[in-house]
Each structure stands twice: as structure tokens, then as C-alpha cells.
């Protein structure tokens, strides 16, 4: 029986490799037959910024890695609307299409999950 697994990504990329290593885990989750979704929240929204170039700091480009999520079967990509507003970001700033959720919608997303991790 497939489990509903939510990856809650709320760390900025590049300042540490946490974001990158969490995305690797989400990609692997995608190839298992689970119902995987991702919620970008807080500084995690910066993972989605367009025009990233990880090579400038000697590593991979996080935005590009996120682009592989749909190929791995992870198509439910959500982002926290209030976080975006606080950071001054809109969908035009992002390198991937996401579904914006307000707090009520995020609560119901959380309440549908079996597992939530970061």
C-alpha cells in the first residue's frame, strides 16, 4: 500500500548541502511507488529561484536538480504563498511551476500525509 510522503523543504540552497541532499532523497522516493509531494516553505523557496548557477560555488545547481522531480514521478510541487509574499517572490521568479497554498491548504496537505520529513 503506497504511503503519502511529504518532503518539507525549508532551507536555502548553497549555504549548506542540506537542500541538495534532501532533494536527492525526494528523487529516490519518487522511484518507489509512493505518493510523494514536496512543499517549499520559508527560505526553501530560494531553491526554486531562476538563474541559479551552482558552478559559481563549486557545486551542482539546485534549481536544475529540482527540475528532475517530475521525471522521477514527483509532480505534486507545492509552495507556501505567505512565505513568498514575505520574501517578495512571485511565480515569475521561479524555475519550476508550483501550486501555491495558503495556510489552510497547507494544513490539509499535512493532514493527508503518512510521513513528513525534511
Amino acid at each position: 500500500m503506497a504511503k503519502r510522503i511529504l518532503f518539507l523543504l525549508n532551507r536555502a540552497p548553497y549555504g549548506s548541502t542540506y537542500a541538495l541532499e534532501a532533494i536527492e532523497a525526494a528523487l529516490v522516493a519518487g522511484v518507489f511507488d509512493q505518493e510523494v509531494s514536496v512543499l517549499f516553505s520559508g527560505a526553501g523557496l530560494y531553491q526554486l529561484l531562476s538563474e541559479q548557477d551552482g558552478g559559481a560555488v563549486g557545486g551542482r545547481t539546485v534549481g536544475k536538480m529540482l527540475g528532475a522531480l517530475p521525471e522521477y514521478g514527483v509532480t505534486d510541487l507545492f509552495a507556501c504563498g505567505p512565505s513568498a509574499q514575505r520574501l517578495g517572490l512571485t511565480g515569475n521568479d521561479l524555475c519550476l511551476p508550483v501550486t501555491w497554498l495558503d495556510y489552510t491548504e497547507q494544513k490539509s496537505l499535512i493532514n493527508r500525509q503518512d510521513i513528513i520529513t525534511g
Partner: protein, 88 residues
Amino acid sequence: MATLHLVNKPAAWEDCHPLLDAEDAVLLIEDGTYLALQALSGAALYALEPDVRARGLSQRIRSNIQPASFDDFVRLVERCERVVTWSA
């Protein structure tokens, strides 16, 4: 209880708080226990007792926050359907 929210840093409260349901539980752990000095609300509130004691907070935590042992922590995990961890 629906969801157990673990909060391990004061700054994480800002992300956690708007997503609390009334039937949820919050367990403050590690540096998150400093939040027990503040007026918090939104769910049933607990603070991990050894972390509270280490930091000198035992006599200082707000009365609406219940001390929890590690056994209580396990029981909260049993009773809730899922656990979500908030960090800075």
C-alpha cells in the same frame, strides 16, 4: 491527536505556528525549549523536560506548557498520526 510538531529552535516557531490545528500537539525540544518563556498558543503544548532543565528553564516556563519526559515524547508519537519537524 492529529499531528505532533517538533520544534527544535526558537526561529522555527514562525513557520510552525500558522500550521497548527487545534487538535495537534507541539513538543518543544533542544533550543526550541526557550520558546517556553513566551506566550504560545494554537495547540497542546509540551516541552522536553531534560532540555528545559539543562537550560535553567524549569522555574521559568509558562504555565500552559507541560513538561514531557522522553517516555511522554514516545507516547505523543504513538497518539499522533504523524510527526513533523520544524527547524530554523
